[in-house]
Amino acid sequence: MVESFAWLIPVLPLIGFLINGLGNKNIPKSLVGILGSATVLGAFIISLMIFFQVKADPSHGPFIVTLFDWFSVGTMKIAFSFQIDALSSIMLLIITGIGFLIHLYSIGYMHDDEDYARYFAYLNLFVFFMLLLVLGANYLIMFIGWEGVGLCSYLLIGFWFKNTEYASAAKKAFIMNRIGDLGFLIAMFMIFSTFGTLNYTEVFSQASTFSVGNGTLLTITLLLFVGAMGKSAQLPLYTWLPDAMAGPTPVSALIHAATMVTAGIYMIARSNILYALSPVSLAVVAGIGLATAIFAASIALTQNDIKKVLAYSTVSQLGYMFLGLGVGAFTGAFFHVLTHAFFKALLFLGAGSVIHAMSGEQDIRKMGGLKKHLPITYWTMLMGTIAISGIPPFSGFFSKDEILGHAFAISPTIWAIGVAGALMTAFYMFRMFYLTFHGEFRGTEKQLHHLHESPITITLPLIILAILSVVGGFVGVPEVLGGSHELGEFLAPVFAASASLVPHHHTPEMVEYILMLSSVIGVTISIGFAYYTYVSKKVVPAPDSVMREGMSKASYNKFYVDEIYDAVFKRPLDALSQVCYKVVDNAFIDGIVEGFGQLTRWSAGQVRLLQNGNVGSYLFMMVAGIILILVLNLLIF
């Protein structure tokens, strides 16, 4: 049976990590890259075999593979075990598949970096933890992966740690994630005290006997969602993700777009039954998701750093996924995880290719006209940009449409807000695209001279991802468009228990057509507007020195959220730290102790047992103590 090889999937990248990590600079560069990529490719091949096995026999329940007993305390027994089912098998394919392409890309992209081996070691370690996250058969194994990917994210954001700003961005990411992790941790304690186990299968089968609206489940799901907010960068814990762009661009593609940041969606999809039983939590998830989708999109409108645009776009798209989960479109949300992984990885890698060609420049105001210099990058990024904008038949259209369709069934207002966000998405994406590739070149003479298309290890992943971004949506074509939604069918067993609990409003076919059509028309107009502004009128966003006003200023400055957090949390805590240290510890408590000390010295001096020093007062106290005891003893008896 293939599932008995499942342990190899995370172990292969772990081996890559150990060899590249321990061997470090003693291994030849060419071997480092090959080793790093090959281990992930190996994991991909096994994942593919596992996927086909799961697909071949949909009636078979989840495969549970137990490796060893990790620890036990009291009634809590935690096994190091994996669960293989439809959900995890698709995640495996995304992680190892896109992971492999990004490793391949990195061979070229990171070639001139002196810490090449360290880079590949970290990247392999990330893949290892990410695989643990999705393979775990209980919440604690998921938590290992959860915190482990956070570590790798920290290490890779701060990969160029000489730069203090990058190191700070890394630290910020780790700490913000930890805030979420505390929620996850307490949720686990609560799950254990409620169900007596952390194993998914047992938790979910017991949960189905709970009534809708149960208070405990409500608390558990909300706490889990706090964890998801940290990892998947939702309001109010999103500010680390834009800063995370400090890391190498392939890292942004793999960790901060395609895989790690979708862990929150995976977690909720995995726990779908718990959420289905907690309508309030679903509403919260939908609300936060929608708010994040709009908020982040409105910041992306005015950003000029190509990676920052994509980062805010990722935050926004993650918001859509949570919106999907919140309105009960579990499949749709997961579908968007899949398509987003294709097109956002593509866009980041494309951006990397651009940055590479531009000798490190990331400001789109200083680009322009790159189309003829970077034809492959241009065409592939165009595919990605169309896909994210939601133009049929590109992949993003189907997944976003499924989410918005469900949202409409719950409330047309939510749908309308969601579509408004989609219009913004199309605008800021094409704004970025046009400013980068069209018009005149606005960079320096030196950069122009250096401009070149990237090597094959970079363009090949772009081409593959571009193809996937175009056709990837066909696995989930809805019935109304004549499809059979294979993805939905494949995932059905995972969401079976909650399917009956989530309200299914039937939307008439006619309405569905109108919804699709109106959003497509809106997006097209939005793109047209971007074209008019940035290609026809050749508008270039103003330099930083220009004073902006009103909403534009607020958006440009990211609504001052970082500054607010600084003023509300960081500075007061640091001030409190000094007060506790200087006033409470050093002045108050020590003051009392010094008083005691002087008293001892004084009495030691009075009694003159010994001239001075520690031993004297020590003996004094001993004797005094014994006398005291004898006296007490007399009194008691």
């Binding site: 305390v73 009291g74 020590d590």
Partner: protein, 490 residues
């Protein structure tokens, strides 16, 4: 073995003999000799572990003989799983601590190493005594050497600080002695034996008073807020070997004392005041973490972080459930390993740069990648990343506190956020960024430094990935202890 109890006696006697020998030896060989003695002690400890029956809750390797017959004082020692684990911690850490001091130049090194080994005898005595008088004697025997270590080999302002430390601990010890003597008179057979102490039945009022007699001594030793202000000063001023002994092993005397001599002896006192102790412990976690945020002296920063960590361990113990108690056991081991590692890293940096202030440092990772990696691994253990030793303990401890009170566990859980804040801040300021003129040309680890740090890093990961061997040592004894406490609470 016909007399298995001799093993425990051996564990106490060997460091005593070693101490005596070292005090007579002169010259450079003293470091190596001390290391050899501590390794012999390690070998005996490991041998005891191999012979230890973890399924038996009772004390093993018992040795009991009359000491002062007229007063009912026995030399009674033995180890159950709880003792065994702490003895193991002691015998593993002492050689590491000795090895870590190889690059230091001390005046009168023979006296220093003699004191360290004398202290080890005291520590083993504390962890194995089954007689309250012997326990008290060992307690003091462990304390006196460290006073001298701090006062003679310490840094700036050492006399004033040692005096403060001394006043604090003597104050605690005095009350404990008072409590022990009172309990002695209350035992039916006028004995100091632990088992006799378990038989004593006292009024809840008397137990409440006695609770504070013992708790003060233990709380000062750990230390628990607000009895902690000796600790940052002492840890900062003491020579690093002394700081390691204090933080790695000695503070566990306080927790061990609570488990062995407080909870089962004074259950009614615990019912009355356990909650207060719990709340103080949890306050300490948050309070010390917040202070650690802005510490500039890295040694002082780790000292405060240690208060936070030990606060969580104490909270787990007072939660009085198996998760908290077992969590405390494994965390005592992990904390000991990690804190020794952290103090060593700081010592290494200090030796090369002559500074411990974060604002002077920076960029060391560029010059010393091996040190940077070791420091990172130990730091991850300290911030309790899963698959490091710190996680298992922290997870169980927080779970234990959760089972006691949900709100308290949420507050105590802040440690996972705050710990990341102060640790990562420190790491960034010391290791990351560009090198400056203080850190330029920083040499990476020497062989003896590598030996210590590699062993510590290996322990961080091995215990984190496979904690079962550690957990199983104390599991049965902890369950038994909890049963005794529960029984005596009724």
């Amino acid at each position: 073995m016909t007399q298995p109890g001799l093993l425990t006696v051996f564990l106490i006697l060997l460091p005593l003999v070693a101490s005596l020998t070292l005090s007579l030896v002169k010259g450079e060989q003293v470091k190596k000799l001390a290391l050899v003695f501590s390794l012999a002690e390690l070998a005996i400890g490991l041998f005891a572990w191999s012979k230890f029956d973890a399924a038996d809750a009772r004390a093993q390797f018992l040795y009991d003989t009359n000491w002062v017959a007229s007063l009912g004082i026995h030399f009674a020692v033995g180890m159950d799983g709880i003792s065994m684990l702490l003895v193991l911690l002691t015998v593993v850490l002492v050689p590491l601590i000795i090895l870590s001091s190889f690059k230091n130049e001390f005046k009168k090194p023979n006296a220093l190493y003699a004191l360290i080994l004398f202290m080890q005898a005291g520590l083993i005595g504390v962890f194995t005594s089954l007689d309250a008088f012997l326990f008290y004697v060992s307690w003091e025997a462990a304390l006196i050497p460290i006073y001298f270590i701090c006062a003679i080999w310490g840094g700036e302002d050492r006399i004033r600080i040692t005096f403060k430390f001394f006043v604090y601990t003597i104050f605690g010890s005095l009350f404990m002695l008072l409590g022990i003597i009172y309990l002695y008179f209350m035992t039916p057979d006028h004995s100091f034996s632990l088992l006799s102490f378990y038989q004593v039945s006292l009024s809840p009022t008397a137990q409440s008073w006695l609770f504070w007699c013992f708790f003060l001594a233990f709380a000062i030793k750990m230390p628990i807020f607000p009895f902690h202000t000796w600790q940052p000063d002492t840890y900062t001023t003491a020579p690093t070997a002394g700081t390691m002994l204090l933080s790695g092993i000695m503070l566990k005397m306080g927790i061990y004392g609570v488990m062995r001599w407080l909870l089962p002896v004074l259950p009614m006192g615990v019912l009355e005041w356990g909650n207060t102790a719990m709340i103080l412990s949890v306050i300490g976690i948050v309070y010390a973490s917040i202070i650690a945020f802005t510490q500039k002296d890295t040694k002082r920063l780790i000292a405060y972080s240690s208060i936070a960590h030990v606060g969580l361990i104490s909270a787990g113990v007072f939660a009085l459930n198996v998760q908290g108690m077992q969590g405390a056991m494994i965390q005592m081991v992990s904390h000991g390993i990690n804190v020794v590692g952290l103090f060593f890293v700081i010592e290494i940096i200090y030796q090369r740069t002559k500074t411990r202030e974060t604002f002077n440092l920076g960029g060391i990772a560029n010059e010393a990648p091996v040190l940077a990696t070791c420091f990172m691994i130990i730091m991850l253990g300290a911030v309790a990343l899963p698959l490091t030793n710190g996680f298992i303990g922290e997870f169980m401890l927080l779970n234990g506190v959760f089972n006691y009170n949900i709100l308290l566990s949420a507050i105590a859980g802040l440690t996972i956020i705050f710990g990341a804040v102060y640790m990562l801040r420190m790491y960034q300021k010391v290791m990351l960024g560009e090198v400056n003129n203080v850190t330029a040309g920083f040499t990476d680890l020497f062989a003896s430094e590598k030996a210590v740090l590699f062993i510590i890093c290996a322990l961080v990961i091995v215990i984190g990935v496979y904690p079962k061997p550690i957990l199983s040592v104390s599991e049965v004894a902890v369950n038994n202890l909890l049963e005794v406490i529960k029984l005596r609470m009724q």
